[in-house]
């Protein structure tokens, strides 16, 4: 981490979400600087996906605030946060199963632009198609451009899932377990792609695969039972005994 005084790109204060009386997330303060690569780690039920859903707006917080790009977005609709420059993936792929890979990416690019309702061929269509091709290349789906997304293999759907988040050129990219269910070769490909990611994009990644997460991330936030346990560089996290007991020592036991 450099010692610049840059304003955080994402900032949460006292972020909490209760399901009934049960806190899924409790009082989480998070500051993510522009260009940072941040991993959110923690055992199952630690509140990682809840945190993502609160930041993206899929869930409303019970308490606390979320600021994105220097603006309070606590009550802003999901689609408006997306248009501010937030791209995300889901733990379970949410691709547009009835459309081709190319049309999936076309819509992902279009989403951040004007002209959602256009029924005449506009001048921007070529530019959007061009960007869609570029992303198809980037996530390794160029050869599958015309395939219907619903017919893709699991690994290909995970690639497309990342493509959908990347296509609008977001300022903040949030990946929820991108390596889940991928083969070893696919995980290596994913890691390489994330390392090559433009520094203009800030990355927050939830990942159970330590090789992927601790290779990509420069800074780690550990969650446990809905609360922030500790933060630090990957080597500190690897060395921390508490983390080992809670989580790392346990990874081979399953998810």
């Amino acid at each position: 981490m450099t010692a610049t005084a840059a304003a955080p790109l994402l900032r949460s204060r006292g972020l909490s979400r209760y399901f009934g009386a049960v806190p899924a997330l409790h009082g989480v303060d998070l500051d993510v600087l522009p260009g940072e690569r941040r991993a959110i780690l923690g055992p199952n039920g630690a509140g990682k996906s809840t945190l993502f859903n609160l930041i993206a707006g899929d869930l409303a917080p019970s308490e606390g605030t979320v600021e994105l790009f220097g603006r309070d977005v606590t009550v802003l609709a999901v689609r408006k946060r997306a248009r501010l420059g937030l791209g995300r993936t889901y733990q379970t792929s949410r691709v547009l199963g009835g459309l081709s890979v190319e049309d999936n990416l076309y819509l992902a690019v279009l989403g951040a632009r004007r002209g959602h309702l256009r029924v005449l061929r506009g001048g921007s269509e070529g530019a959007i198609r061009g960007r869609a091709h570029e992303v198809a290349e980037q996530v390794g789906l160029a050869a599958r451009r015309h395939a219907v997304a619903g017919s893709l293999s699991h690994g290909e759907q995970r690639q497309l899932e990342i493509g959908l988040a990347l296509a609008p050129s977001p300022r903040l990219l949030m990946l929820d377990e991108p390596a889940a269910g991928l083969s070893r070769a696919e995980r290596l490909g994913l890691t390489k792609m994330l390392l090559e990611l433009d520094r203009a994009v800030t990355l927050i990644i939830i990942e159970h695969d330590m090789d992927v997460a601790l290779t990509v991330a420069e800074y780690v936030t550990m969650l446990h039972q809905g609360e922030k346990l500790l933060e630090g560089a990957p080597q500190e996290i690897r060395a921390n005994k508490m983390v080992h007991d809670l989580y790392l020592g346990n990874t081979h036991g399953g998810e």
């Binding site: 609709a77 691709v95 547009l96 009835g98 459309l99 081709s100 819509l107 029924v119 506009g122």
Partner: protein
Amino acid sequence: MKLTAPLRLALAAALVAALALVPAVFTTYFTSAVAVRALVFGLAAVSLTFLAAYGGIVSLAQTGLYGIAGFLMARFIVTNGMDPILAAVLAIAIAVMFGLLFGAIVSGSEGIYLLMITLALGVITYYFFSQSGSFGGHEGINGVSAPGFVGNPVTHPAAIYELLLACSVIAYIGIRLLARTNFGLALQGVRDDPVRMRALGFNVRLHRTLAFAVGALIAALAGVLGTWADTRISPGTIQVSQVIQLMTIAVIGGLYRIEGAWVGALVFTLLDTYTRGITARFETWIGIVLLVILILSPDGLTGLAHRVFTMVAKRGAAAPSPPPCAPAGDAAAALDPEQLGTGSGQRQVAR
């Protein structure tokens, strides 16, 4: 045996040309009782199929929108003495406004709730017209005159038939073109995964609402033409049994292929017209035939035809990996029935 785009176009043009000859070849009775009715049903049903295939919205409000346009136009012509074409345009415009209103109401709902809300809208429309004195109550409105060039549709159905055919072709091409626009693609995205579409920055409710307005436009067109063809409209035209009938037509044709609407309408009209002469229990027999179609093919007759065609094409292909039946071109890929969930028609309806 692969159909290229120009070949498809030529076949479609030949089909339309052949259909245009129906009044010249068949009797006036057939033209009036089967052909005209099938086209009215087909146009009404495609408003439903469009919403289902591209928006994932199964709507039972389409007969209601048909009725709004039909009743308003009938009243404008009969009571206000308005020119039939002007009356039709005005009635369609008002029906589209109602479509926007209905769409705004249902756009936040999905699945069974959406189905029930649209049913309620359809039923409310029926009761409104059946109990409203200014729309003739149970009698409805009789003696609705069509524009001059249509003549008398009852004695000379050829003109209204050709008009219906032209409007059907325009509706079909219009829907196919709309599907490739930004709006059409986004609508299909909303059908596939509204959560993802929101996360991409799209206004899901707005897309559903506008789709409903497009469906209303088609249903209203059917209402106007159907009322011209019948020279009358009564609440019986839009009662609950008609709502179910329209749904049946759309489903037996295939809810996920727009051409299915017309196929379903033709099969239904033929059965409805000719089984009456054979057996007094024709309604039971129609029910059984429809049941068999749906059991054999959950995605209707067009789904069945597609599977048969695919099988024949595969058998004909010598290559080790047979090419997919649908051309790889953009337009064709978007409309490739496979993507709409072949064989899972029923599940999609229930979704």
